[in-house]
Symmetry: D2
DNA sequence: TGATCTCGGCA
DNA sequence: TGCCGAGATCA
C-alpha cells in the first residue's frame, strides 16, 4: 500500500500513537505543576509572598544577568532624575 | 562636554524625552483598547458570545490560512478516527 | 552578634529550602518538556505538521467544547456571509 | 424566499457592523504600535538598550510598587544569603 | 523563526 | 481572583 503525502487518507495508527505519547508526557508535567502549586501555597502560608518568591526564582536562574540589568537600570534611572541607589556587590 | 558610552552619566534629557513620547503613544493605545472593551460589551448585550466573536475576528484576518488549517485538521481527525466533516467551499 | 551559618541576616533557611524544592520540580518539568520537543520533531519528520498536531491535542482535551464552538462559529460566519459548511456528527 | 442583500442566511447585518467597528479600532491601535516600534529603534540607535528602556517604562507606571517589591526582594535575598544592597530613597 | 514571557479575557 | 490563551519580544 502506498501512503499519500503527509499520510493523507492513512490510518496506520502512527498519528494516534504520537498523540498518546505526547498526552502521557503532558499528564506527567501536570502532576508536577500541581505539586508546584501546592508548594506556592506553602510558601504563602509560611509568610512569604508568592510574586516575590517567583522573582527570586527567576533571579537565581541567572544572577549575573540580573546584576547587570539592575546596574544598567540604575544608570537609566539616574539619567531621568529618579532617586535610587541600587548596588550589587556581586551576585554570589 | 564628552558623553560616555551609552550616555553613561549623561543628563541631556534625551532618554526622558523618549520615555515621554512612548508613554504618550501608550495612552492613545489605551484609549482605543477601552473603546474595544466597550464594543465587546455591546457585542454581548446583542446576544453574541465574546469568545466566538473574537475567533471570527481572527479568521477574518486571514481567511485563507483558516481554511487551509481546517482542511488539514479534518484529515488528521479522520486519521485518528474522529467523526467529522469540515468543508470550506472557499473562504470568500 | 553572630548569625547562623549560611543564613546571614536570615531566619532559618526555610525560604532557601522552599526555593530548592521548587527548582527541583522545575527541573523535572523541563526534562519532560524536552521530551515533548523531541516528540514534536518526530511528528514533523513523520510528515505531520506541528501546529496542526497541537490543535488536535487541544481538541482531544475537550472534543465537546470544540464541537459546540465550531457550530456557533458556523452560524456567525453564515451571518456575515462567509461561505462555509462545518459539520460535526458528534465528537466521538 | 429572498434573503436580504449581503446577509445570506443572516439576520440583519448587526454582527458584520460590530466586526467592522472592532477591526477599525484594531487598525488604529496597530498604527500606534508601529510608531512605538519605530521609537524603540530610535532608542536603540541613541545608545540605549530596548529591554532596559522597557523596564524603566514599567517602573514609571507605578514607582511605588516597584520600590516596595525591590525592598521585599532585598529582604528575601538576604534571607538566602545573596549579597546585595538595594536601596531606594523613595520613588520620586 | 522559535521559545519565552507578560498581559488581558474568562470562569 | 487564579488560570489560560494569545500577542509581543528577545535570541
Amino acid at each position: 500500500m502506498i501512503e499519500g503525502i503527509n499520510n493523507v487518507g492513512g490510518t496506520n495508527g502512527q498519528l494516534l500513537a504520537l498523540l498518546e505519547r505526547y498526552e502521557h508526557l503532558e499528564a506527567e508535567k501536570q502532576t508536577i505543576a500541581d505539586d508546584q502549586k501546592e508548594l506556592i501555597a506553602e510558601v504563602t502560608s509560611s509568610g512569604f509572598e508568592g510574586p516575590i518568591f517567583r522573582k527570586l526564582l527567576k533571579i537565581r536562574k541567572d544572577p549575573e544577568k540580573f546584576a547587570e540589568e539592575a546596574a544598567k537600570l540604575n544608570l537609566y534611572m539616574a539619567d531621568v532624575g529618579m532617586q535610587v541607589s541600587l548596588d550589587f556587590g556581586g551576585a554570589s
